[in-house]
């Protein structure tokens, strides 16, 4: 199972190369990976449907007691099959959709990595693994939304999604850490068994709020719903996969996964059901005000996610059953409708519902897929969507809290869903399109096959619900409600309240469809065109953040090197002075250093060089004197037996002089700008830090030496690290991690210099 989760990352590494070398075959073979994974997970379904969990665990960071754990139970199975199954369709569809695009390899690399990350998140066996993969999905989503990175809109949409879900991810991390502390374990099985402990703990409120923060941002719940429609900047297969069928359901997954732990309190009911209900209405209303197929679908996804959240918030067994059913139905019909929208865009060259029409004749199979999916969305028998809608009404009618209000709101949301289904699944294929549009061209088979699959599956499930439900759905329901599932699904329950509500839904939907044009004309003119973003608050916040950081930079990083230096020296002096005072001042007797004449000479060279720098009125003179100081210091190194240091210092000094000379060419003539007073202040500062350092040296020399670290290095350099040069052994072996960090800093600094130099070029082009 470990391999099954991680193989996507490995495949992602090789995808770009394969697609560049063999574009045709790579595209044909790519769907086999998700298909194989799908079959692999399917092979475990027997054990999982009996309520067993497949657990795999391998040490990851043993020093912290963290394992890499995977945990496949009913809920994980449902998600794993959705991720790989819909992944298969997307992988089948994408090569035809992006035909001839050179960036297919990159796209597939991110898609593969995303699939692996999704599997990791939904199958994670502890909080650390879950969080890691959770963030990876967000990262992949960022890269995929920004796939068309030359477009400004794509970039800002990608950044928005990353900031919103990343912020939620931080909340989630904090929540996980609190949760791990309260329970005393990060492992999922332990956590799931300690619901009462968590619910009665004083930290329940922060844990709940933080986890909900993560879930609501990921699943685009109000007020974070704005990022999802903007994410439609991604290519359509991406939208179908990430932003309707799988990734945005992660928040729902989180709610469902931690339901046994957190649900059942009044706070949970109010927060989760309240936010879900609001999101469902906002999404539904905005959906029917749009004209772009993808944006309509995006807002209706927001609405569906709201319904899911609402149901999990209500949390009764009937509501959980309805939520799991809707999870499956929605993934099937919505991915189908998205793929249809992509195929229409590809074939007819437009996604505007006002322009499209009469496509059924040109794209018959696509029309079939769209109609079946739309009927599932509208919830008509004999589709699985009908069973789902019935069970939603059952759940809300039995809700312990405001059943009538919730049912009424749901009626409105479902009516809007019917409208969306008609707008996206039926409207483009019937009636008349705008004649100005280019005549649609024929589609390659995979473009209609991929949407037809899930749509047909929705029909099949509706006809024989009880063959699949015990295997796939009941185990998932059992995990979420932490008790065995018991309901039996069927298309016909007799004439009851649910059926009447279904009829009312359809009537309401038809009414909205018929009167939509007239309703739209009543709205303000600026609302007519659609394109609702709802991200005013986000933009305001981002702008304030940027302004704040600019202000901070202007104060702290003001660009005046003199003040940087003074700040550094001041802090050093302050901390040293404090330490002196703490330790009771200087020891009484200071040892005056004795030295040979040549040592004093080296010191004199350094002092003379330093003094010359400050008084010379030529730049070249200053550079040379500075070099003298450096060479003097390396002389001291040689005298005191540190040839490595001396050698390095010599080289550095040499290169530094070369650099200085190169820079000197560009500087204006030497002029004295500072007033005598400023120079006096600088001199005082220099004298103070110099004096303090001298005192420090005396102080250190007066202390008894505690050489246990250097003793260790000296003793073990040869036997452990096979080297006689202790300095080098420390650098490349004992303290190699430090060195690694330092060379990374060097590399970044060099790139910074390079960037600065390049930006000053008149032609503005790097090499």
């Amino acid at each position: 199972m470990l391999l099954a989760v991680l193989c996507g990352f490995v495949a992602a590494l090789f995808a770009p190369l394969c697609f560049r070398r063999f574009p045709l075959w790579a595209g044909r073979l790519a769907p086999l990976l998700p298909l194989g994974l799908f079959l692999y997970f399917l092979s475990h379904i027997g054990a999982v449907s009996r309520g067993e969990a497949v657990v795999v665990s391998t040490p990851w960071i043993p020093s912290l007691g963290i394992d890499f754990a995977l945990y496949l139970d009913g809920l994980g199975m449902l998600f794993a099959l959705l991720v790989t199954g819909i992944g298969f369709l997307i992988f089948l569809y994408t090569p035809a959709y992006l035909e001839g695009d050179r960036r297919q390899g990159t796209l597939f690399a991110w898609l593969l990595a995303f699939m692996a990350a999704m599997l990791g998140t939904t199958l994670a066996g502890n909080l650390v693994t879950l969080f890691l993969f959770w963030e990876l999905t967000g990262l992949c989503s960022y890269l995929l939304i920004g796939f068309d990175h030359e477009a400004e809109g794509s970039r800002s949409a990608a950044l928005q999604a990353l900031l919103v879900t990343g912020g939620g991810g931080l909340a989630l991390l904090a929540g996980f850490l609190l949760l791990g502390n309260v329970v005393g374990s990060m492992e999922l099985p332990v956590l799931l068994a300690s619901g009462d402990l968590v619910r009665n703990h004083p930290l329940y409120l922060p844990i709940l709020l933080l986890l909900l923060g993560g879930a609501f941002t990921k699943s685009a719940q109000f007020p974070f719903h704005f990022w999802l429609p903007n994410a439609m900047a991604a290519p359509t297969p991406i939208s179908a996969y990430l932003h309707s069928a799988t990734m945005v359901k992660l928040g729902i997954y989180l709610l469902a996964r931690f339901s046994p732990l957190l649900a059942g309190t009044e706070l949970w009911l109010a927060l989760v059901a309240g936010v879900g209900g609001l999101t469902m209405l906002v999404g539904g209303i905005l959906a029917i005000l749009e004209h772009d197929l993808k944006r309509i679908l995006a807002w209706s996804t927001v609405s569906a996610l709201g319904i899911l959240t609402l149901l999990l918030g209500v949390g009764t067994p009937a509501a959980i059953t309805a939520a799991i059913l809707l999870l499956l139905t929605h993934a099937l019909y919505k991915s189908s409708l998205f793929l249809v929208a992509g195929a229409i865009d590809h074939g007819a060259g437009s996604r505007d519902t006002r322009q499209l029409g009469g496509l059924a004749r040109k794209m018959p199979w696509l029309a079939v897929a769209a109609i079946v999916a739309a009927l599932a969305m509208a919830g008509l028998p004999p589709l699985f969507g009908f069973i789902t809608k019935e069970s939603i009404y059952t759940a809300l009618l039995l809700s312990p809290w405001e059943p009538l209000l919730l049912t009424g709101l749901m009626l409105a949301a479902n009516g809007l869903m019917v409208t969306v289904a008609v707008m996206t699944g039926l409207r483009p294929f019937f009636g008349k399109g705008v004649p100005a549009l280019a005549p649609p061209h024929a589609l390659s088979p995979t473009l209609w096959l991929a949407p037809l699959f899930p749509a047909a599956l929705g029909l099949l499930l509706g006809l024989v619900p009880n063959t699949v439900a015990p295997l796939l759905l009941y185990p998932a329901i059992a995990v979420v409600q932490a008790a065995p599932a018991s309901s039996v699904l069927s298309l016909w329950h007799g004439i009851n309240a649910e059926l009447l509500l279904s009829v009312a839904t359809l009537l309401l939907g038809t009414l909205i469809v018929l009167s939509r044009r007239r309703l739209l004309t009543l709205l303000p003119a600026s609302w007519q065109e659609g394109g609702f973003t709802q991200d005013g608050g986000y933009i305001l916040l981002l702008r304030a953040l940027l302004r704040g950081s600019r202000l901070q930079t202007m104060v702290v990083q003001n660009g005046r090197l003199r003040y940087y230096l003074m700040a550094t020296i001041g802090v050093a002096m302050g901390s040293m002075g404090l330490t002196f005072m703490e330790s009771g001042g200087l020891p009484g007797s200071l040892v005056w250093p004795s030295g040979y004449l040549h040592e004093w000479l080296a010191a004199a060279i350094i002092v003379a060089g330093a003094l010359t720098v400050t008084v010379t009125d030529s730049r070249l003179g200053a550079v040379v004197s500075l070099g003298t100081v450096g060479y003097g210091v390396s002389l001291v190194y040689i005298l005191y037996g540190a040839p490595d240091l001396a050698m390095t210092q010599f080289c550095i000094e040499t290169l530094a002089i070369v650099l200085f000379v190169l820079v000197l060419y560009r500087l204006p003539l030497f002029t004295l700008l500072s007033t005598p007073l400023v120079r006096l202040r600088d001199a005082c500062m220099a004298a103070a830090i110099g004096g303090l350092m001298t005192l420090l040296m005396f102080y250190v020399l007066a202390q008894p030496l505690v050489p246990h670290v250097s003793d260790f290095f000296l003793a073990n350099s040869q036997p452990l690290a096979h080297g006689r040069n202790v300095v080098n052994v420390i650098l490349v072996d004992f303290r190699a991690l430090d060195t690694l960090g330092e060379i990374v800093v060097l590399a970044v600094a060099a790139l910074g210099v390079f960037g600065l130099m390049q930006s000053r070029r008149p032609d503005g082009e790097g090499k």
Binding site: T648, L655, V663, N725, L731, V732, T739, L740, V744, L746
Partner: protein, 136 residues
């Protein structure tokens, strides 16, 4: 800045200096030397060449771009840390070949790490020096 003396001298000195930098790198583990100072010597040698013959000529004899030297240096240093992971040891444990090689002597992952440092330091110094020179 063309001077016959400088360009004749550097033509003789360049191979010697580069050889010396590799010598410093290899002896580093037992005698004074190491990747850092070796890289600096190499960079100084190439910089001298650039002073005498021009930046374009220096780029020609370098073959690879200094930026690529930095990147490959980081990669080599990192891989020397990752190799022990594959044998099940912690990151960056020193692994040594059981026998000595001619010329190179005792070889192990710390030498690889030092090679990474050498490449990175040389690349860094050259990147800065050459792009400053190019400005003229």
């Amino acid at each position: 800045m063309s001077s016959i003396i400088l360009s004749t001298t550097i033509r003789l000195l360049l191979p010697l200096l580069l050889l010396f930098s590799v010598f410093l790198l290899l002896r580093g583990h037992n005698e004074p030397g190491g990747g850092f100072v070796g890289g600096l010597v190499a960079a100084a040698a190439i910089s001298l060449y650039a002073l005498a013959e021009g930046v374009a000529a220096a780029h020609r004899i370098l073959i690879v771009n200094p930026r690529q030297m930095i990147a490959s240096g980081l990669l080599v240093a990192l891989s020397s840390g990752v190799i022990p992971l594959m044998t099940g040891r912690p990151f960056q444990s020193g692994l040594w070949l059981p026998y000595s090689l001619p010329v190179l002597g005792h070889v192990g992952t710390p030498l690889l790490f030092d090679l990474g440092v050498y490449l990175l330091v040389a690349g860094m110094a050259l990147l800065i020096v050459l792009s400053l020179m190019e400005e003229e």
